[in-house]
């Protein structure tokens, strides 16, 4: 009894993980080597789907667009989250706990709701266009949505709480005493930042950028709502091939390509992390 207790305790979680995770992922990898013809699955082992993906300019464009959108979002989110993370790390103010909660709380609000908020702000009849038109700055609405700008703005904001947490997790080496030492020795604030703060927070920046990139390239809800179907990315291609075109083997192959981009990002991170340790 005593010997078999751990196995018994682990069995239910193991069963769920097997049925819902290991089996589907194995099946997905296997099916990506198959082929669909006229809605019928043909069980074969070949690279047909991968050849199609990497030889079609449209799909290569999707891959390239996904990578640069995710990279831009990572850069923007790190830029926007860095001051907040720095403030939360240093501040001794009594408002700090409230600000910490306000920063992280959006993480727990459904991304559909937050994306909807951006649709109200960015739409052709939205708040920004309304304000600009009321102020007489523009005559016709500026298109901020249903294009790549909407995707960039929305994704940056959606991922900012996670970026902030990732930045904070890498701030351990930042020592306020060192900054004060630099200041008291006469370094102007910008030099103190460039020579002390920035290098010491670099591990956080690298982690933050990687986490944000990985989340940005895999997100589906925000890009598809704010892109309005006009910004095809890897995730939306998987969705369309699976549920609209019903070409499951090809959808599976695109999913494998997405996982490969993940792997490459992790390898790049390993290299960077080693440099900054």
């Amino acid at each position: 009894m005593r010997r078999s207790l751990p196995a018994l305790l682990l069995a239910p979680a193991g069963a769920i993980t097997f049925v819902a995770f290991l089996l589907p992922m194995g099946w997905l990898a296997r099916l990506s080597l198959g082929r669909a013809a006229g809605g019928v699955l043909i069980d074969e082992v070949g690279l047909t789907n991968y050849v199609r993906f990497f030889s079609d300019r449209f799909y290569l464009g999707v891959l390239w667009r996904s990578v640069w959108v995710a990279s831009s979002v990572a850069a923007l989110a790190v830029l926007a989250a860095y001051p907040i993370a720095l403030f939360l790390f240093r501040s001794r103010s009594r408002w700090r706990p409230l600000l910490a909660v306000l920063t992280i709380a959006p993480l727990l609000v459904s991304s559909v709701v937050r994306t909807f908020g951006w649709m109200i702000i960015l739409g052709d009849h939205g708040w920004i266009n309304g304000l600009l038109q009321a102020a007489g700055v523009i005559a016709a609405p500026v298109h901020l949505m249903n294009n790549v700008w909407g995707v960039l703005i929305g994704l940056t904001e959606i991922l900012m709480p996670t970026t902030t947490l990732a930045l904070l997790s890498g701030f351990a080496r930042l020592d306020v005493a060192q900054e004060e030492a630099a200041r008291s020795l006469g370094a102007p604030p910008w030099r103190c930042f460039l020579r002390i703060t920035l290098p010491l927070t670099m591990p956080g920046i690298v982690v933050g950028a990687l986490v944000t990139f990985v989340l940005a390239i895999s997100s589906f809800v925000t890009p598809s709502l704010l892109g309005g179907g006009r910004v095809p990315l890897l995730a939306s291609t998987i969705y369309e091939e699976a549920l609209e075109t019903l070409d499951w083997p090809f959808a599976a192959a695109v999913a494998v390509v997405l996982v490969m981009v993940f792997g490459l990002a992790l390898v790049g991170y390993e290299r960077l992390a080693r440099r900054w340790q």
Binding site: P12, A80, P83, W127
Partner: protein, 259 residues
């Protein structure tokens, strides 16, 4: 810290909270569609929401599903976390990695994989399919949060109880369980929230017969933005805030996420 830096942080926080503020304000608009500036104010959005049968049905499905998923993942997750924390057996670390691996993969890939397998099993648009799929996402949270709680318990307390003659199950019930209860409450709240808000995986598995609330909202806002959806969003945010307070009280929000 200079005032300029404080102002910058304030502006960035405003950007971060902008969508939530806008949703809150527009939920009190009586206009037919959401434009700026709102013309009429009132509770029309909330009234329309109460009358919307699709949203009411979706809400019922989502609450039932999230409760079911929370109960299952808390049970299975606590058992697994206990085995990992209190027993030594080969492959313990690897097992934990496998259990938490679903959190690392994008929902779009998990959803596609589930679609491929569940189509064969006949589980599409069924309670079985949705429950198992949501457990895939919530189980790693449950295992991790409960494991963190278990590792935080001073082992000497359990040893003292057994030295004094308490049989193992009584040590668990009288010492371990009460001490890990805050972790379990936090885990339950997180699981409920994760299931209730789940969109991407559900998109692959729902059908006209069975649809969750986030999916109804997703399809509604693809075409039209009206105050009703702002009102619904405010209801959802309030629900989230309630659960966040539960987590904060029992564990500390930052701690629950930072690990």
């Amino acid at each position: 810290m200079s005032n300029g830096f404080r102002a910058l942080v304030a502006v960035l926080l405003l950007f971060l909270l902008a969508p939530l503020i806008v949703v809150l304000l527009t939920s009190f608009s009586n206009d037919a569609y959401l434009a700026f500036p709102p013309v009429k104010w009132g509770f029309g959005g909330y009234r329309a929401l109460l009358a919307n049968a699709a949203f009411r049905r979706g809400f019922g499905v989502s609450v039932t599903l999230a409760s079911l998923v929370t109960a299952i993942s808390l049970g299975c997750g606590t058992a697994a976390a206990y085995a990992i924390a209190r027993f030594t057996f080969p492959g313990r670390g690897a097992l934990l990695t496998v259990f938490t691996a679903p959190l690392l993969l994008p929902g779009i890939i998990l959803g596609l994989g589930l679609l491929l397998v569940f189509a064969r099993l006949g589980w599409l648009a069924t309670w079985t399919g949705l429950t198992i799929a949501h457990c895939l996402v919530t189980l790693p949270y449950a295992i991790r949060v409960v494991l963190t709680a278990l590792r935080g318990i001073d082992a000497t307390l359990e040893e003292a109880a057994s030295t004094l003659g308490a049989p193992p199950w009584r040590v668990f019930r009288r010492v371990t369980l009460p001490l890990m209860l805050p972790g379990m409450i936090a885990a339950a709240a997180l699981c409920f929230l994760a299931s209730f808000d789940e969109v991407v995986i559900s998109l692959f598995l729902v059908g006209p017969r069975l649809t969750t609330l986030p999916i109804e909202v997703f399809h509604a806002i693809e075409y039209q933005a009206d105050p009703q959806i702002s009102a619904l969003s405010v209801v959802l945010i309030t629900l989230t805030a309630g659960l966040v307070i539960v987590v904060e009280r029992s564990l500390g929000l930052v701690r629950a996420f930072a690990r």
